[in-house]
Homo-oligomer: 469 residues x 2
């Protein structure tokens, strides 16, 4: 817990923020102090609600001078507790809502930190463009949040993570100064690229207040399918074929196991089994092209050859947008679908693509030995080597008992990940939850360098102090 | 000039490098002390030729302890003098030549710093993959060099700069410690992304010793054309159409003016005028797709509609690989073609794509007023807003007289770039040449942050001390 904030600092903050610019009302604060999976609850002496970059700078400046800590928060959709204050000032970007510019010619949108990802999608569609970052939480997740956590999602295979989609940033640095790096350039080699530290910096090096984001053409040809395969090994073989047959046009390649699909069918209303028979593993494949008919043709080649060679057991190709949405819905409900099943250890890991099947096999053997009867779901962005690997308590088992074993179980999973050259946090970040665990797997050389960088920009460690090294 | 290196440091360096691992032979040193455009010559007390990462670490460790400065050098193809020592130890990566791994399944090559870009291209072709970074200097430019300068080239429009192509790095940090960050992950959100500081860091934060690079499928359908247009404005309109009609499949979109083409025809042997008649401006367009026939179809749509609407005056589409090479040769010879014409002020600038035509018009008006009769060539990666804007002395004019005006003239060009929201170094970097100029255009807030970052990792400023802030 952070030390108490002096009363004079609170009154100075209230004064610069003005009426409507802050709150201490427990009802107003409550939804911002609870993480949506209910794993983290927080406290704060003050919710700051700056409306402009200048107000953010004033807040950070006062805190910097007084050595008072700040936790920045966007849409509060983070999964690792990084946005939940434990006594720090809570700085919400919710009133930074302007779309400052939208230019289909330069393929750029300039949006303030509090704009939701869904609002970005709506805005760019009006000029015939697309921002290829899709998250299940996009109605709530904000620009500042996705930038600060380097969010991933389902289209990373083709477009990269948020890091690859940011052209420029505006931010308030930990000394309270505004850095205007809101360029809209594709190329700029003039010294260290400061924005790269803020992207994925989880609010530890300042508050991102606005971003220029890269837009892409809407693609006229799109094909979505679910194919059944026997194993993760075969899924990976199909991925290699998809990349070869469709060139750069594979937009998504997602893996799901039968168990995850059964949880969706059981616990989420309005879902249909994608294929007439049950199969052990499934891949959801999406191909998109600017050339009319090209995506459909590539999908046809991929699946018919896969069926012919016995790699694909059965497949369904969406014939309408509604059917494509229904296929995606099965994938997007993998996490909500398992929630009613009880206590779960969640892992957001990545390994080299070639090691995915080995990871799943080794981790599952270890987990089944450790918790006999545990129910494992493995799903996610296999095209990027990023698997959401969740271990649910045995059917009818005790939640508390399962949760008590979490740290030990997760350590076993993470050790396997590390041995295979992977990452213990592929896309969710470290937050308050995984920082200590990450220290275990990084070299002392790297930790020392990261600590030195942080110290150089935030010597009083006021920005999100419980996060990172 | 850096202070003299103590004799005991030199002998310790020789001792750890062993026979063949260092040189003080003027003939051996000469080609490494001269920049290829003859603008920079250097001196060094010792050329260090480490053969392993451990030897690089030993050299940097000795220098760190003694506070002795180092200039790292790859293929010596840099254009801004960053690789030329002025009394520092010269650390060449030329003996770090191993390709440590090549995996078509993970789409990755792991190459040591001294491997040439051409050698990377050859290696990945043997497994049916492609590394989409193309430079005119690729026979000499090295992996360490392209990473350290975040090299661009002609395929940035689709694949990004080197930054977007690096999955992991191994480097010796300024304290002499080896950082092994040679991951091959597409997603890894576990703290600040240290490699982002080394990419484009121009050797100021350590010596890159190896990199894991992202590979792509070879695309079966490729179309290359040169189209004549009336103006840069029309070129930009055609770019927007190309992006719309070909979706994400535009690989290159390059601008050339008539003057540059005439210099190529005059000064380079074996070149042909691409079209029967002369036109004021040209674009070289390349489209590539994984779908057989798709690139050719998109090119056909783009050009026939452009001709129909009067945007394109004439066009030629390559029918064979040899013809495509001939079209590219005109583009690649823009710089060599003008070399015999005398003293030149070169600028490697970027602006938002929407501002390219305005930049060319304003800069050209300013230059023609400043040096009546000067000959301007503007060419380059217009798809990224990156123009190589060169001002050659008047026909029959005096080289020395023209060179004497360089700083004043370049300042005028850079002021226009800054006013249009651009960068004074789009892809060449700052080196020794542009560091002071860059300081002029960055905010004090940013410069202070960049200085703090450098200080945090290289407190004695031993790594390439004349480069950056």
């Amino acid at each position: 817990m952070t030390k108490p904030v002096p009363a004079d600092v609170l009154s100075r903050l209230k004064s610069v923020l003005g009426e409507g610019g802050w709150s201490q009302d427990p009802d107003r604060l409550a939804p911002k102090l609870l993480e949506w999976r209910d794993r983290w609850t927080g406290t704060t002496p003050l919710l700051a609600l700056p409306k402009t970059t200048a107000e953010v700078a004033a807040v950070v400046g006062i805190c910097a001078e007084a050595g008072v800590a700040i936790t920045p928060q966007g849409g509060n959709t983070g999964l690792v507790g990084g946005q939940i204050p434990q006594g720090e000032i809570l700085l919400s970007t919710e009133r930074l809502r302007a779309i400052r510019d939208l230019d289909a010619f330069d393929d750029v949108i300039v949006a303030e930190a509090g704009v939701t990802l869904a609002a970005v999608h709506e805005a760019v569609a009006t000029v015939g463009r697309r921002f290829p970052l899709g998250l299940a939480s996009e109605g709530t997740a904000t620009v500042g949040g996705v930038v600060s956590t380097n969010a991933g999602g389902t289209q990373v295979l083709r477009y990269g993570t948020t890091r690859d989609l940011v052209l420029g940033l505006e931010a308030v640095l930990p000394n309270g100064e505004v850095w205007n790096g809101l360029k809209r350039l594709r190329k700029d080699n003039t010294g260290y690229d400061l924005k790269q530290l803020l992207i994925g910096g989880e609010g530890t090096l300042g508050v991102v207040t606005a971003a220029s984001l890269k837009l892409f053409p809407v693609l006229v040809s799109r094909a979505t399918a679910i194919a059944a395969v026997d194993s993760p090994e075969v899924a990976i073989q199909m991925l290699a074929r998809a990349k070869d047959t469709a060139g750069g046009a594979v937009e998504a390649f997602e893996l799901m196991g039968r168990r995850g699909i059964e949880f969706v069918l059981k616990n989420i209303t309005g879902q249909r089994d994608p294929l007439p028979q049950a199969h052990p593993w499934y891949v959801l494949v999406e191909i998109a092209s600017g050339e009319p008919g090209a995506a459909e043709a590539a999908m046809e080649r991929l699946l018919s050859k896969g069926l012919e060679d016995g790699l694909v057991r059965d497949a369904v190709v969406a014939q309408t947008d509604a059917q494509a949405k229904a296929l995606w819905s099965i994938r997007e409900n993998q996490s909500p679908g398992q929630k009613p099943e009880g206590a779960t250890w969640k892992h957001d890991i990545s390994v080299p693509v070639s090691q995915v099947a080995r990871f799943i096999a080794e981790a599952s053997a270890a987990m089944e030995a450790f918790v006999p009867g545990c129910r494992i779901t493995a799903f996610g962005h296999v095209g990027d080597g990023n698997i959401h690997y969740d271990v649910i308590r045995p059917h009818g088992g005790d939640n508390a008992e399962h949760s008590a074993k979490r740290d030990q179980g997760s350590r076993m999973v993470h050790d396997i990940v590390a041995r295979l050259g992977g990452s213990i946090s592929a896309e969710h970040g470290l937050g308050a939850m995984k920082t200590e665990e990450a220290r275990r797997y990084k070299s002392p050389v790297e930790v020392a360098a990261l600590e030195a960088i942080r110290q150089s920009l935030d010597p009083k460690r006021i920005m999100n102090p419980r996060v990172f090294f």
